[in-house]
Symmetry: C2
């Protein structure tokens, strides 16, 4: 995938830099593990420090000093999550800031404008994020509104490419815009959404509205039912997913791009992904474990420190626990994607997929689960 | 100064790694700014993860993966700070852990044993830390107890060098032990304490009991009154001090070694030392300031990010605010010491000292103060 700020090898995982920073990882850290693209959140940057301020700095890349690709979401996901603080209408979503309670209106045009000012390489259209579960009628209505909003967002971006509107500063003339397929867990709605979204003519397409509480097999089925209806020559982005095994299974179903807070958030909670299984570093069994966190990992954390020290840092609530753990978990994710890309390049993806699951099923905690925290009577 | 883990150029500043980690700075960070020695706290490491556990790992250097010199304090300062939770007697100090309320007895021998197990390159004797202000009689009695404790601590270390006692593992056979001069703000008591401490025969000597609330000029006078009574061929360590100007003034009075939490703690509060003055990065004036934090600084933070971004990170409560600010403040301190050493080497220290104060007095906030936070009516 080629962007105004360079190439991204796909399938790719995007570390999440919510507020223009990956929590606990500096640019140097991200470079050291080979991150090629970041995701950042429009909702947060719009409220603080504001897209106007960032545009005056020359855009998000210059503001945060990251000259590789950036994808921004539309802000919709966060706004819809403010369940008590927002009202939805055809025009858009009115919401109250979680910071100061101030009232704002996010429309498809506004989400496009903000992202134009941020100057991300990939902007997302504003979509309606429906809570799960929903009835078929609710899902259809929501999917259709998302299509109407997508058309408005696309029209706005095309206008912005031609001329200045309302003082919006376009800080990245080559910004791409991705449409988002909705339709809940219904294959027919997903197919309809895919066809109509593609008809609007975006640079590429994402699958939204998954990883919201549905069973994992349902998510896999929806992905499998949707990707055949998206252009094969364009990256397909599965939003907000997931575990390493979700990534492998979604690549098998045609996905090229991922983002998820799991590696960074779990790192801060002491939950670490390793080639030998998932570790709760706070568990007492690591108190005198002098081995590296993951003997198969080449990140700074694993090259430098022992599990015993990492446990001590976590128990002592040291900032370094967050930074060292974050670096490792992100490295594990990016390494997993590198191995997937290699396997595909060598025509060995199905073998890789099988071996990946076989190893997972032998690991402590079982597939997909972190080892449980230990409890003691003392 | 030469230690079992290498050389330290003096005068030197020791970043504080309270719990075996400098808050917000990894080993890589510390190496990148040329840190040659760390200080770590015996009280904290004794309680968690425990000196026994660290000794089983091979000592503190191996546990925290730092192969350069380490100085440990005696634990006394923290214990005496637990004012409601400790009782002092001739044998030592009984205290309750701030973690779980458990009761412990810290004696001169115990403080020596713990540090022998930690295996720092420089151990400190347990001294009595008197609150300021104190009467002359209180100060004399405390100074004399510190001398009795120092004799016991020295005897214990000499014994440990010869034979195993009570299962204490000596993890650094070449560990040095520093005596501590007390005597409050009374020059005569300081002189007496210095002579009697030197008579006990430590590898080197520290000045304790300052930076505890006395006026700054009084501290300077006490330092000036004490250093002439300490051997010229041994490093002199001023404990727990101070601002950059305190360092310059103390070097002028014969001090070689410093530690202080000021650069790291202030960094986490957004208070930053720069060659252009002291900055409160949260102030609104930096919101659109695209300059580096300190144009004269070569640290990663200043090479990479703008004041505007650092302000955003601070306001957004991002972990990277703490790590990037900490790296810069420590770099500023270590650079100041480097410039002091260069000035001394070139026979230009008095010129450097004058220029240093002239520049400080022109800076925003005035000498010795951070610029005040800005307030607004909104």
């Amino acid at each position: 995938m080629t962007t105004p700020h360079g190439r991204v090898d796909t399938p790719a995982f995007m570390p999440v830099g919510t507020q223009g920073a990956v929590k606990g990882a500096t640019r140097h850290d991200l470079e050291s593990i080979g991150a090629q693209i970041l995701l950042s959140n429009t909702y947060h940057l719009y409220l603080r420090p504001g897209d106007d301020l960032i545009a005056r700095r020359g855009g998000l890349h210059r503001f945060i000093a990251w000259d590789k690709p950036i994808l921004t979401d539309s802000g919709g996901y966060q706004v819809f999550s403010l369940s008590e603080r927002r009202t939805i209408a055809e025009d858009g979503v009115r919401f109250k800031s979680h910071l100061d309670g101030s009232s704002h209106l996010l429309t498809p045009e506004k989400a496009t404008d903000i992202q134009a000012q941020l100057g991300s390489d990939i902007a997302m259209v504003l979509d309606e994020c429906l809570a799960h579960p929903a009835t078929l009628d609710e899902t259809r209505a929501s999917m259709q509104r998302t299509l109407r909003w997508a058309a408005r967002a696309r029209a706005r971006l095309l206008e912005l490419r031609d001329r200045t509107i309302d003082g919006v500063t376009v800080t990245n003339a080559g910004q791409a815009q991705f449409g988002i397929v909705q339709g809940g867990v219904d294959s027919a709605l997903r197919e309809e959404s895919a066809h109509q979204t593609v008809a609007l003519g975006f640079e590429a397409y994402a699958i939204g509205g998954l990883s919201v509480g549905e069973p994992i097999e349902v998510m896999y089925d929806v992905v499998a039912a949707t990707t055949p209806h998206l252009p094969a020559d364009r990256p397909r982005y599965l939003m907000g997913t997931g575990t390493p095994e979700d990534l492998v299974e979604s690549v098998a179903r045609g996905i090229d791009l991922f983002d998820c807070v799991l590696p960074t958030r779990n790192a801060r909670n002491g939950q670490l992904f390793t080639s030998e299984g998932r570790i709760n570093i706070k568990n007492a069994r690591y108190a005198e474990d002098d081995r590296p966190l993951d003997p198969a990992c080449g990140c700074y954390t694993c090259r430098t420190h022992s599990r015993a020290y990492l446990r001590h840092l976590y128990m002592a609530d040291e900032i370094n626990a967050a930074t060292l753990n974050t670096l490792h978990n992100l490295c594990f994710y990016l390494d997993t994607l590198r191995r997937i890309r290699d396997a595909i390049a060598f025509g060995r993806f199905e073998r890789f997929r099988l071996a990946f699951h076989q190893r997972l099923s032998r690991q402590s905690g079982g597939p997909g689960h972190f080892e449980p925290p230990e409890f003691s009577l003392r």
